[in-house]
Symmetry: C2
Subunit: 204 residues, 2 copies
């Protein structure tokens, strides 16, 4: 992932030269505000005030709060884009697509950045809250809406638990034999659990 | 769990008074050696040498390497004891017993200590390796042996992934609605995944 900080040679979009100084200040202010207030309560207006800039400049540089969060956290991918793609295909193979995509991203160079993000979210209380609010509001809520099943929020929590656990055991704790297992095998074995969480009736 | 450090009122086993000073040194040496060499390669002899005591004293105070690890990491429970109890009952309800026991322990006062251990294992590379080696050698290997199914090691990795993920989402990231869901409900919903990982044939 490219660093969000612009370098003189790579800007060239005709913005005034002073702009390049405000981006790092805005990103630092965003990290502070998100950590302090959580994702849901931190506003673009708060962050602009903390950075000492006009909210319009912040919108100009980063777009929405969602996009600002991705930049401030240096997230290598936008989970919303991925989720949108996954939901587009055959609902009976959704579990398979989810596990395959999840492992493909973690096996790619982006995996190291994701591992860093999970490490920090787990070890640091405000980061945990920030990440879980972002996940709930910005990633999971659209899935729940589109799934149209009963208990959708709970189902998505279970999916998150299995996927986070897979990342933890395979990529962070590196517990064998899961750490070295072929991706296709893990997809085949884990997909039915994800599919069950998403679409099969719960016995209760 | 009782703290491993003896207090004057509770010792009374007629040991020389000097002993109480060596326990903290042994535990500190154990933490260093486990972190530096991993669980498998750190030996009682190494740890005794680091603490500057005789290995016999170390055995006297702590028993086996497994027990020394539990004391050094301040683990509130011995996972081996729990696992032994779980494996004793009806194999068709093993998934249910595992999830129920796992959540009961995390919901108890021991949960805070476990959360601390997971936070440190995730954020600190040597702690990750140490914990995963301990899990593999001392907790999972006996399960694998007793299960007597094909792919037992892989199956146990999947169980670990679902359980760790549940702990992460419910107790550490506290993602709703899973964070506030009733334990019985979570047991009913997650048990079939655990049961499938342990005993059902994988389609491949």
């Amino acid at each position: 992932m490219a660093a969000p900080r612009p370098t003189p040679g790579r800007r060239g979009r005709g913005r005034p030269a002073g702009d390049s100084d405000t981006r790092p200040a805005i990103l630092a202010a965003a990290r502070n505000c998100f950590a302090e207030r959580g994702y849901d309560r931190a506003t673009i207006r708060d962050i602009a005030a903390t950075a000492g800039v006009d909210p319009a400049l912040l919108h100009h540089h980063f777009g929405t709060k969602h996009e600002l969060f991705l930049a401030a956290m240096r997230l290598p991918i936008d989970p919303t884009d991925i989720v949108r793609g996954l939901l587009a295909g055959d609902p009976d193979r959704l579990g398979e697509r989810i596990v395959d995509t999840f492992l493909t991203v973690w096996d790619s160079p982006a995996g190291a950045a994701l591992a860093g993000m999970v490490r920090s979210a787990v070890s640091h209380e405000p980061s945990s809250r920030m990440l879980s609010e972002f996940m709930a509001t910005s990633v999971l809520a659209p899935v729940v809406k589109q799934l149209g099943v009963r208990d959708a929020k709970m189902r998505v929590s279970y999916v998150a638990s299995q996927l986070f656990g897979l990342a933890l055991v395979r990529y962070i704790l590196r517990l064998e034999p899961l750490a070295s297992a072929k991706r296709d095998r893990v997809v085949t074995d884990v997909a039915p659990s994800i599919q069950r969480y998403l679409t099969e009736p719960f016995t209760r």
